[in-house]
Symmetry: C2
Subunit: 282 residues, 2 copies
């Protein structure tokens, strides 16, 4: 299967997500050559050794200038920072997509810096992991996952990007950038804050008494500091609202607990159980 | 293998935990007969049909009076409530153990009501689940798990109870009831509060955008309302302290976020990553 006229793909930010995507693209599409940018000598040597990509370049322009499609897979802040220098290097009409976990900032920066020089399409594949680094790449990462696309189904370039994600096994859902960031704050970004804080607070000598519940809640606290600092900062307003709502609800719970109001606690948990049953079915 | 001189075991509160324990005991020990108490006609018929136990009785005294060992597997509040009426029914020298998830209240009530009429040993197997009901019973539930025992290794009856847990595959750890409740608040009870509140707050129409992290953090919000209301109420003081510490830490995080202090957020997450790496190895 071919990805329409896309032949050359350039990747900036070859970590776990992009490495996995490169493997999946090579498996799903024929006639595609993928090159990647290595910022340091060290990562150049590492990527050479891993043999995930067809070409590794230490010169950004070599990765970008002939590419029909450029994939940006750095932390959110870096994506925003690279959009300006990239705009001068891109082939006219190239499709640019990113894999960032927050979309409003990136979407605004792309509008500002790329304008009509390229077709920008924001993507957020919902299959992150606490893993990081290209060495962990896994060609099945995107299978049976959802990819959120912050564009309209009729935008130019959508056909190609949709086929790309469907080709690697993702279901595509369209969403606007503001709503994306609000929802993702609630179902992912703020849960990460919770997990980081829980791990931070529990003394190490308690770990041996932990069972499955603690491991479940702290698993994602192994997630990359650079990636998540950027996500948090780029989605600050929504996160602050979610944090306030959480504190309010927690205070409500502790007030009920102080009063010893068993009936109300049971009622609350039953309501939650019902909601949980819908999540379990996802 | 025999469980020393234990031949008759009586269970009060035949749900998922006790049902699983009964299956495991029958598999690991010979010459043991297990009977269970059914409070309602409905649960009597259900238990009869499930054939997990050798005998089901609707009369509590029949389950208890000849038993060499009585296992209490109700929610914490019910265990405390049953200790007084039980004390008049028990065979002299019977071993009584419970599976409650908080230990201080139960331990105090046992001292008060059983005194020297029976040998009470508080147990907390760390392998709960969001499952409930005897129909979900699983004979391997206790394999490779830890069972906390709130007694001294030299107390009478310990030899038997230790062999019981080791026989079903658990590692036994001795701990005092107060420290148990403090630790368990941090690694289990408060994480359940967090999970309940998170599920409560996130709107249902956001669920479709949730990935693994949200499912991890909300899995235990399916846990039984009656069981957990009792655990929360019986471990109120520790929970209130954990909630305050959590709110303080969350406020610290949001202050840093408001300031946009990226460096400090990165440093915080890196510290957490390090701690998480120790949990992952558990």
């Amino acid at each position: 299967m071919k990805l329409y006229s896309i032949k050359k793909v350039g990747i900036v930010g070859v970590g776990f997500m992009a490495g996995s995507l490169a493997l999946a693209l090579k498996e799903s599409f024929s006639n595609i050559s993928i090159s990647g940018y290595a910022r340091s000598k060290e990562s150049y040597l590492k990527l050479k050794k891993l043999r995930i990509l067809d070409k590794i370049e230490r010169d950004l322009s070599k990765v970008v200038k002939d590419a029909d499609m450029v994939i940006l897979a750095m932390p959110v802040g870096a994506i925003v920072d690279y959009l300006k220098p990239l705009s001068g290097l891109l082939k006219k009409g190239a499709i640019v997509l990113d894999l960032g976990s927050s979309k409003r900032l990136i979407s605004n920066a792309a509008k500002k810096h790329l304008g009509k020089k390229a077709v920008f399409i924001g993507c957020h594949p919902l299959c992150g992991s606490e893993k990081s680094g290209p060495g962990s790449s896994c060609k099945d990462l995107y299978k049976d996952s959802i990819c959120l696309i912050t564009a309209d189904a009729t935008d130019p370039g959508i056909k190609v990007v949709k086929k790309l994600w469907q080709g690697v096994g993702s279901k595509v859902v369209f969403i606007n950038p503001d709503f994306h960031d609000k929802v993702l704050s609630s179902v992912s970004h703020f849960p990460h804050v919770i997990s980081f804080i829980l791990t931070y607070l529990v003394p190490e000598n308690y770990h041996r008494f932990a069972s499955g519940s603690f491991k479940d809640l702290t698993r994602i606290s192994g997630s990359s500091a650079y990636v998540w600092a950027d996500i948090f900062l780029s989605n600050k307003d929504n996160l602050l609202k979610d944090a306030e709502a959480f504190i309010r609800a927690l205070r409500g719970f502790t007030d009920t607990l102080k009063k010893g109001d068993r009936e109300r606690i049971v009622k609350f948990i039953k309501k939650v159980n019902y909601k949980n049953s819908k999540i379990s079915k996802l």
